[in-house]
């Protein structure tokens, strides 16, 4: 077990190094960078004070050096103008666009994103699993057809459209603004009980909107998985033992049908950050998605690079978690190959 973990950590480290290099060089691919663009702009406007600052920043972050040196400085294995100070040392860099350290820019956004998307994931599973079990056990019944139909509508509706519609009607009928994640008056305020309550009430609509498509997809997949397992011989055995149908179903076929979803956790984690960009824009949610989008557009390299690296770390960690969970839950994997 320990040997396995060590091996996995080693491969994870290698993967991350490769990803970080890719991320950095892809961000650097377009000509110029945020600061040179800005300097050109300022020069056109003749603002020498700002130009001086921008040039100071270029020196500060070594943007005048070759790309591979910049990369090594960024990850923190080569001394920059301030000595070793990069991702490895916990310095996430400077956002030129916001003129703030990346830590401050992302601060709340990072964990609010996690919160929203965690709520979505829980919502999807809570809603879709019971429906999937219902329609699988009653295949081709009226209830199955209705669930299938609603599922298809959910799949086919673009979530940003739904967000717009809800935004409009919530305002018109209930006179509530559902944009944002808390009431505008709490912006920049410290976290109080009031603010948390506002957050929770604002969480409902984004969860619904983002979760709907996922729920529909999940119902279809879960139903198909379960239908496969329901035809298996061991389920007949369980029934022949005298188990009540519900116990038999949950203990055997349901448990088996979960495996693909556990294997999916690795994909789910990065999705928590990078998914739902469109909906976040429409509902003006203060999440990471829109920040990443603008950072990429304006070549705000440290900000974009950090967010992408964060997603990469989540992916790799997610894969590890799902592998470990699978091994824990499925003895065939844990003991496989041993005779």
């Amino acid at each position: 077990m320990i040997r396995f973990l060590l091996r996995r950590f080693a491969t994870m480290a290698v993967t991350l190094v490769i990803i970080s290099a890719l991320v950095f060089f892809i961000i650097k691919l377009p000509p110029g960078d945020f600061l040179t663009n800005q300097i050109a702009e300022l020069r056109a406007q003749g603002e020498s004070a700002s130009i001086a600052k921008a040039e100071f920043l270029i020196k500060q972050y070594g943007l005048d050096r070759p790309a591979w040196e910049q990369y090594l400085v960024w990850i923190g294995v080569m001394p920059g103008p301030n000595g070793f100070s990069g991702l490895l040392q916990g310095d996430w860099g400077w956002s030129f666009e916001y003129d703030k350290p990346v830590t401050e820019v992302l601060g709340d956004a990072l964990w609010l994103t996690l919160l929203v998307n965690l709520a979505v994931v829980i919502f999807i599973h809570l809603v879709s699993i019971p429906i999937a079990i219902y329609s699988a056990t009653r295949q081709y019944s009226l209830g199955d057809y209705i669930a299938t139909f609603i599922g298809y509508i959910g799949l086919a509706t673009p979530s940003f459209l739904l967000a717009l519609i809800l935004l409009y009607y919530a305002n018109r009928w209930f006179d509530v603004s559902i944009g944002g994640l808390y009431d505008a008056k709490f912006a920049g305020q410290p976290w109080t009980w009031e603010k948390v309550r506002s957050l929770l009430s604002h969480l409902v609509v984004p969860t619904l909107v983002i979760g709907l498509g996922g729920t529909a997809a999940m119902i279809r997949r879960m139903r198909a998985n379960l239908l496969d397992e329901l035809g298996k011989q061991y389920y007949v055995t369980a029934k022949a033992k005298g188990l009540a149908p519900r116990t038999a179903l949950l203990k055997y076929p349901f448990r088996m049908s979960l495996n693909p979803f556990i294997a999916d956790i690795g994909n789910l984690l990065p999705h928590l950050i990078s998914g739902s960009v469109l909906v976040s824009l429409v509902l003006s949610l203060p999440t990471v998605g829109p920040i990443l989008l603008s950072a990429l557009k304006s070549q705000d390299q440290f900000l974009a690079g950090f967010i992408l690296m964060f997603v990469a770390v989540l992916t790799v960690v997610g894969m590890l978690i799902s592998d470990l969970l699978l091994a824990w839950l499925d003895p065939r994997i844990r003991l496989g190959g041993r005779r």
Binding site: M1, R3, F4, K232, Q233, Y234, V236, T237, A238, K239, A240, K241, G242, L243, A244, P245, K251, Y252, R255, M256, A327, L329, D330, P331, R332, I333, R334, L335, G336, G337, R338, R339
Partner: protein, 620 residues
């Protein structure tokens, strides 16, 4: 007369199908007396399993009991008419698994791979008896010990896939019997097992029955099994009973033509050399009658020769550990297949026979040794063939698979399946391919109009014939048949075996026939090689092998085949010791120490046996 334990009267079960309703069981009546074994015999599709599922009310959703009664006279309780109980009523839940238990054919898929044996067995007890978990655990351990687990405590925490097929079926039996049911339904309990394991499982069921006084309903298509353990026999055909009677009556004096036909279809050891099996439905084929071998140069020596073939696998011992286990699947195998003859390769599952056939196909590489193929121009090593020579070899050697269901692509029509080999090898124009496909279909006795149909609309036997037709498409010289009839019913088995024999004499084919069923190999092969743990332990012409089996493993295999002849019962006591497949447990001079290969010694013309080095040297 004592009231029977279970009494079925005028039972009908209907299936709802897209093509209309279908009556699977039609007015079935029979009794199961207390403490006796009743065998329910018939081909697949005759309604045997449906009857068993009806008794437990675990029919699939498409089926329902539409008439008749199933009266269960529980000695510990009142009588019930099961047919009148709701499938999910409390009374039914108590009966199911509690008073009537069932074991199934495929012990691998019948147990959940995610739960330990201990969990699945004690669960049955926890549902039906008020016992604490500790008590349930203890009784599970006792039961596991009773059914023959060497280390019952360890067995509690093992998973089904860690066990051999025989042990899995033992675990199933423990699970069924832990609640001390009055009736055990065994649905083809040994069909998926090797003969030696089969004999042990049958023995175990018999013993446990004597101990507990339960009744057994044994569902099977194997008349050999019936002759050995049934007290009474019920023969089913198309949902009806065609004949019932005691074992004596049935085997000595079969009345109904269906049963007589069924008996004639089973290969037996006592058959005359030229005797032919009589399948219930014989294949008629005009093409086959007029077919002849293609004109080509025939090799002078054997067409296929295997020399010192060896193959080991490395297995990782577990997911988390880096330990490697080396397993010798095939050790120093020598075989020789003469033109137009059949070489039978016999052994239990896991003995390496499939690995040998895969290496001959060059689907897998050897560690050492050679496979020589002679196309008439002299023997050449198959592993060194390249380019055109390899393509020609591929054309000359074709494979027939065990499972007729998964070996045909469900998304291809029969026409596409039969012409695919021709297309791959770029033979003929589309018109010629079409004509060839029709000819092939007719050769295996299938209707030419089947060309547009998909495999799923054929029965198992018909599908196996499609597989044979596909193998014949390229006019091969050698067919490798890997257990081609072990998934088939006796009646269909006879049909396919006869077809293979006819094809061989018409087309001059040579067969390597791999099987675990000695009676089948006896019927079709000229020479037989017995394989155990990767070694050929005995090799002889058919007649001398059966007249004079020398090696203890061969003797055990022969002794374990249930013969459908009540005067030749299985000697269960002899088979009880599970030592015949361990080389280190064989008696002298056959005993092989760990890692020792021994030597093959010829004891009469063509009859070779593997002896230990020491014994061979002493003899010399």
């Amino acid at each position: 007369m004592e009231t029977p334990l279970l009494s079925i009267r005028q039972l009908t079960v209907d299936f709802k199908a897209e093509t209309g309703d279908f009556r699977a069981v039609n007015g079935l009546s029979f009794d199961i007396p207390k403490g006796k074994t009743v065998a329910l015999v018939g081909e697949s599709g005759s309604g045997k399993s449906v009857t068993a599922h009806a008794i437990l009310q675990i029919l699939s959703k498409k089926a329902h009991i539409s008439g008749g009664s199933i009266v269960f006279n529980d000695p510990q309780n009142a009588s019930y008419d099961i047919a009148a109980l709701g499938a999910e009523s409390d009374a039914m839940h108590a009966l199911r698994g509690g008073r009537i238990a069932m074991i199934f054919q495929e012990p691998m898929t019948s147990l959940s791979p995610l739960h330990t044996i201990g969990d699945q067995i004690s669960e049955a007890l926890l549902i039906h008896a008020r016992v604490s978990r500790g008590e349930a655990r203890k009784r599970t351990m006792d039961k596991l010990a009773r059914v023959g687990f060497p280390d019952p405590k360890r067995a509690l925490t093992t998973y089904p896939f860690e066990l051999s097929g025989g042990l899995r079926q033992r675990a199933m039996i423990a699970m069924a019997l832990i609640t001390r049911p009055a009736l055990l339904i065994a649905d083809e309990p040994t069909t998926a097992l090797d003969v030696t394991t089969q004999a042990q499982i049958l023995d175990l069921i018999k013993e446990l029955q004597a101990e507990t006084g339960m009744s057994v309903l044994l569902i099977t298509h194997d008349l050999g099994v019936v002759a050995n353990i049934a007290d009474e026999v019920v023969v089913m055909y198309r949902g009806r009973v065609t004949e019932t009677g005691s074992r004596e009556d049935i085997f000595r004096n079969a009345q109904h033509p269906y049963l007589q036909a069924l008996m004639r279809a089973v290969p037996r050891f006592a058959m005359a050399p030229d005797e032919r099996l009589t399948p219930i439905r014989e294949i008629k084929s005009a093409t086959l009658a007029s077919a002849h071998a293609p004109e080509r140069i025939e090799p002078k020596g054997p067409i296929l020769k295997v020399e010192n073939l060896t193959k080991s696998y490395t297995l990782r011992a577990g997911w988390f550990s880096g330990k490697m286990l080396k397993i010798r699947a095939v050790s120093d195998v020598n075989l020789s297949l003469p033109v137009g003859k059949t070489l039978g390769l016999v052994g239990e599952s896991g003995c390496g026979k499939t690995t040998v056939s895969k290496m001959i196909m060059r689907a897998m590489h050897q560690d050492s040794g050679r496979v020589l193929f002679d196309n008439g121009l002299g023997p050449r090593d198959v592993f060194e063939l390249q380019g055109d020579a390899l393509t020609e070899y591929r054309r000359s050697v074709q494979f027939i698979f065990q499972d007729p269901f998964s070996s045909l692509n469900p998304r291809m029509t029969v026409y596409e399946i039969l012409t695919e080999p021709l297309r791959i090898h770029e033979i003929g124009t589309p018109d010629e391919r079409y004509a060839r496909a029709k000819q092939l279909l007719d050769m295996v006795g299938l209707d030419k109009r089947s060309l547009r149909r998909y495999p799923h609309s054929f029965s198992g036997g018909q599908r196996q014939r499609l597989g044979i037709a596909r193998a014949l498409a390229l006019e091969p010289r050698v067919l490798l048949c890997d257990e081609p009839v072990s998934a088939l019913d006796v009646s269909v088995q006879a049909q396919v075996l006869n077809l293979l024999k006819d094809l061989q004499s018409a087309l001059g084919l040579s067969y390597l026939f791999v099987s675990h069923n000695l009676a089948v190999v006896d019927y079709i092969a000229d020479t037989i090689a017995v394989m155990c743990r990767g070694y050929i332990v005995e090799e002889a012409p058919k007649i001398s092998l059966f007249r004079n089996p020398v090696h203890p493993y061969t003797q055990a295999l022969l002794a374990a085949v249930p013969d459908p002849d009540i005067d030749r019962p299985l000697d269960f006591a002899k088979l009880r010791a599970d030592r015949f497949s361990a080389p280190s447990q064989w008696p002298e001079p056959f005993r092989l120490l760990h890692g020792e290969a021994g030597v093959m010694k010829e004891i009469e013309p063509g009859h070779k046996v593997r002896l230990s080095y020491r014994a061979a040297q002493e003899a010399a």
